[in-house]
């Protein structure tokens, strides 16, 4: 193998008083997939942005193929064969694939730009790497997976030898992730070196040749062989303490039904989004809803929280029939952790304090005669921030300043503070790191033990299996199977989710 493709030595970067990256060494061999693992805010992205020239290190040196590199900008980095695919794609949606790929490095080295030539070049490139994307389509018309391909093509077109991928699977479906991994393996065979930034343990073990862990700006473990480690060890390295990844503790006492859903149907554009759904949420039980995304989960959540009126069927909460009015649902003890915290769960530009009362702001706890009780609300917010371990200096900061895990804690704190009887928890741990995930899992179990009824909807089958007491499988808007969770095997569930019969 010889010398390293990349060698970063003694790199430091401070933002104000905080050392984002602290005297770190990091080396990549040629032709390997090296996973850089760490929690949100550990400094992974900062370290890689320095390699890509987007920010300059305060100290330290970078060597490319053994010789000292002077990287002052992304342009320099591209010159050294380094390219980065960002978590948020750097694409102009209105321009075509071909235009996005070649811009800034146009094929004919003249002032006149030949679009035809660009299309041809991109088509050839796609064929060469088995990543066909129609070069004449506008990028905004492509699926997220294909947009990512465009980003990779952009890098390959610039003759990248070293490819940095920042959380590439965060936005992909499991199928798209598998495809991406196939692409990355092919690129490795071509001799490219790949650095993959992630905080997901499963995929790390799936794809990595070697693993390094970054915590608080320092490499805590370098070059681990994935054959000789497991998720528990990696999680402990990431968080700095032992983490319980798969908590399994079944309910000791399941009580009576609190929320009865009967014969629920919902039509849309002539088809059935939900088809005769019967479910009962019982005291002291977590009911897990397993299913591939897009099989009616979103619609079901909306109906159960009063955001959408069902076609037929009845909802009975504590013996009372519910009609569609989201406020009535909230007021009667339904707590809702929405699927997407950034669009439904929070108003990002508003403060933590304000977000902690959204939807409940009309209650006398928060207002008097229509005027918000500012001082009182501040005290409540401070208490909740402490109680739920939200890492925030000040409740007056906008929620957008928090990491994903802490944002989710704000949503959870708001809902639980109201002491709901029923909790609809949709994707409660999506996009949060392992530390926060463990915390949220413990909290759900604790709530259940206090006698709450919980409906858990998650795309992560492992999460469903470990937390749920009972599992229902949804497929094309129908509940196709329901039994106690330990009665299912993993293969059986996978089959049911894909529409297979028992």
């Amino acid at each position: 193998m010889g010398e390293d493709a990349v060698s970063m030595r003694g790199i430091s970067k401070r933002f104000g008083n905080v050392a984002a990256v602290d005297r770190t060494d990091f080396h990549i061999k040629k032709g390997e997939i090296h996973v850089l693992l760490g929690e949100n805010g550990a400094g992974k992205t900062t370290l890689m942005k320095m390699l890509y020239g987007m920010i300059q290190p305060d100290e330290g040196e970078i060597f490319i193929n053994g010789s000292l590199a002077n990287i002052r900008s992304s342009k320099d980095a591209i010159g050294y064969g380094i390219n980065m695919v960002h978590q948020h794609f750097m694409l102009a949606g209105y321009l075509t694939v071909a235009e996005n790929v070649v811009a800034g490095w146009e094929p004919d080295n003249t002032r006149v730009f030949s679009y035809k030539n660009a299309v041809e070049t991109v088509r050839r490139l796609g064929g060469q790497y088995h990543m066909e994307v129609n070069p004449e389509r506008r990028v905004q018309e492509l699926s997220v997976g294909n947009q990512q391909r465009v980003e990779i093509l952009k890098a390959l077109y610039r003759e990248a030898e070293i490819l940095i991928m920042d959380e590439p699977t965060a936005v992909l479906t499991p199928q798209e992730s598998d495809e991406l991994f196939n692409v990355l393996r092919r690129l490795k065979q071509e001799g490219k070196s790949i650095i993959l930034i992630t905080h997901k343990l499963k995929e790390t073990l799936q794809i990595a040749d070697r693993i390094s862990v970054l915590r608080d700006g320092k490499i805590t473990a370098y070059g681990i062989d994935p054959e000789k480690t497991d998720q528990e060890e990696l999680a402990a390295l990431m968080v700095g303490r032992n983490v319980e990844l798969h908590i399994q503790r079944r309910s000791k006492k399941i009580g009576k039904t609190v929320y009865q859903i009967s014969n629920l149907s919902l039509g849309e554009n002539g088809g059935h989004k939900l088809d005769q759904i019967d479910l009962s949420l019982r005291k002291g039980e977590i009911l897990g809803l397993a299913g591939i995304e897009g099989n009616g989960q979103t619609e079901l959540i909306e109906v159960l929280c009063g955001l959408r009126k069902p076609g037929t069927g009845s909802l009975i909460l504590n013996g009372r029939k519910m009609n569609s009015q989201a406020r009535e649902f909230l007021g009667n003890g339904i707590g809702h952790i929405p699927e997407d915290r950034t669009t439904r769960g929070l108003v990002l530009s508003m403060s933590i304090e304000e977000n902690l009362m959204l939807g409940y702001h009309h209650q006398s706890e928060f207002q008097k005669w229509g005027i918000l009780r500012k001082k009182n609300n501040r005290l409540i917010a401070e208490r909740l921030i402490k109680e739920y371990g939200v890492k925030a200096r000040d409740g007056r900061l906008p929620v957008s300043a928090l990491s994903g895990g802490n944002q989710q804690k704000v949503v959870i704190a708001r809902v639980l503070h109201q002491d709901p009887d029923v909790l609809i928890a949709a994707q409660p741990t999506r996009g949060v790191d392992v530390g926060a995930m463990e915390y949220i899992h413990h909290m759900l179990l604790e709530l259940r033990d206090k006698g709450k009824a919980i409906l858990l909807i998650s795309a992560d089958l492992d999460e469903i299996r470990s937390l749920s007491d009972r599992i229902a499988v949804i497929y094309e808007g129908r509940i196709v199977s329901e039994k106690m969770s330990d009665a299912y095997t993993e293969t059986e569930l996978g089959l049911l989710m894909a529409g297979g019969t028992q």
Binding site: S74, I78, M90, G93
Partner: protein, 287 residues
Amino acid sequence: MNIETIWISTIRMSIPLTLAATGSIFCERAGIISLVLEGMMLSGAFAAVCGSYYTGSALAGVLCGILAGTLIGLLHGILSLRYKVNQVISGVGLNLLVTAVTTLSMQLLWGNRGNSPQVQGIPHFTGVLSGQSVMTFITLALTAGAWFVMMKTRYGLRLRLTGESPEAAQTLGLPVQKLKYSGVLVCGAFCGLAGAYLSLDHLNLFVREMTAGRGYIAYVVAIFGRYHPVGALLGALFFGFFDAFQISLQGKGLPPQLFVVLPYVVTILIITFAVKNIRQPDGLGKL
């Protein structure tokens, strides 16, 4: 009503709109909001008259007009890009500033706040093309040139990318600031020329606030033409027609105020029904 006079007058009215709208396209495709067109045009109109007044040459006047428009473009660029002023506020503020400065300057130079003395104007053709301004052909050539630059050159591609996604342009190592400045400067030059046309092509003098909202109409024309130079040309002809139509209806016994509002009413209608579905560049107004 005479079809031929309306046609000639349509062309005359659409020339400044075409030029200003084409300028606007460069600015907006670079991601900068171009509500400053009015001020650019007005400064161009005034500077053109000054240039012609002092040199006796219409060509020198036109060059002065272009220069003045470009200067306003530079100011808008500095305010928006360096000082990160809200681009709508910067644009409208500059428009007001130009109105004030031109009025004041007229008072100082000629002791008259209403209009300037007559000066040497842009020549018109004689013979077959009798009556047509040289500017008609210059405008057509410039529109074609703008299309070529925008769609068929490396610069145009990079400018469009920058306007859509400045972050993407930056990660590719493109000089984002320079590209944005170039867009707003080209816009200023086009608008300065449009202004020079207003003052030097027909009246051959400057009248206070003579642009009369054409900069705002041109802003709508650029959107209506889907930020495409050829679209802008067609859109300008459309608006120019209503302007010409309005003029031809005057002196027919009805109060003229009734017709003067016509182009503005059309603008409102276009904004309400046609423009709302047109997509603006993603990076517009962002830094």
